[in-house]
Amino acid sequence: MLFDDTSTSAMSAQGSYYTPGYNVAGPPTDARGGVNNLFSDPMANAAVMYGSSLANQGKDMVNKEISRFMSVNKLKYFFAVDTRYVLKKLMILMFPYTHQDWEVRYHRDTPLTPRQDVNAPDLYIPTMAFITYILLAGTALGIQKRFSPEVLGLCASTALAWVLIEVLVMLLTLYLLTVHSDLSAFDLVAYSGYKYVGMIFSVLCGLLFGSDGYFAALAWSSCALMFFIVRSLKMKILTSLASDSISTGSGARPQVRMYITVAAAIFQPLIIYWLTSHLVR
């Protein structure tokens, strides 16, 4: 009977010794345990468990390495967004002139999440804008018949490199000039990533309306972005004024802080033009 089974599937008898045992050896021994009964053959069972333990080891190692560089919880703060916040923030980025209150609200020393405070920086918009920018660059190059995966990769890595350079320069400047602010690296990445929204707007207008549309959109989004950066960073960099005056005044003078803020703002349109002009010829 055992051999009856194998002979009925005689074609596979050589290869699959598992089929008869698979059908019969299961029930008498243990209850239907679901996936655990999938392989009644302990060899396959051992292989599955070894494989899954290997995968778990890999995952644990990746998690450990990542948590050495950044804490995932802090990163989660920047992604706690909802649709209302994103829409309002995009409105502010494109038209910041009517927004009144730029203060980031706190709740017992911890900043409020972006869901509750529209002035809080977030990382969802910069990330999505970056990916949209890469795809849009690919489409623009495809329309002009200049597309190839290498050019796309070049575009993506150039943009990423410029973001990193800007963040590092800002961090270095704030550190060297002893400006005490609570701007963390992620905050700077967020503020630096907001320019991608302006870039996407400019490229879209350039594709739809030609060169004139591109320059008009570039001018508009540059002004809006400069205003936005100045107002937001002013709150964060210049409000540590009070604590510094209490100390020996070794902190940077307010003019230096203003210079930093304005320099960061001037940098934005330059980099927008640099990264998008070759897409709209």
Binding site: D5, A25, T127, M128
Partner: protein, 256 residues
Amino acid sequence: MSGFDNFNTEFYQSSYSVDDQNQAGYGYSNENQYNNQYGQYDYSQQMGYPSPGMMPHQQPYTGQIFQPTQTYTPSSSQSMYGSSFDDEPPLLEELGINFDHIWQKTLTVLHPLKVADGSIMNETDLAGPMVFCLAFGATLLLAGKIQFGYVYGISAIGCLGMYCLLNLMSMTGVSFGCVASVLGYCLLPMIVLSSFGVLFSLQGLMGIILTAAIIGWCSLSASKIFISALAMDGQQLLVAYPCALLYGVFALISVF
């Protein structure tokens, strides 16, 4: 490996009964006893074949095991086959493929405006997504585009990106299998698009409108399932946007 231990104890228990009994008579009178020994033989046969070194006790039994082929009697074989057939669990249940759930998930995808049930995503089912990916590649093949590699590459990168994003955005985390399963199921409307692309060219105005509608359909379904499975509120459009980007890339492959 509790199953292993079970087999181990059974093995040691019934080894003596095998020795005692005649080859022809396996004690079929008692079905339970038959099952034990039957299972025993199966186990030892399987274990003996792949790794003889693992169970050194196998060696004396293999000779006994292979002997009964000569004493095989057709009459009893039928009764044996009959009882074993009744005892086996359904094959699909053992394989973990639940057709009812697959059908439910497909219906959820096909009705993007109907509210989804969050519990259907509890088991990770990659059989359906695999079928849909292959069907997508097949319809592309019909249109003359041999791009299986691109489909797999983009789906892998897209799944990884969605996995990171959803883990950061939701309170509870997700597993990679769940993300891959949902994104694979929601690829179904894209198959409709690429089969249209076989018959008509998609590069006119009608094609663009159809493409936009299908991308919207796919991303709405995917975001609806994610929202209900992960209990995220007020974030459906935020989840739909990266899904739309991913399916937009698939649509680019179908159209161009």
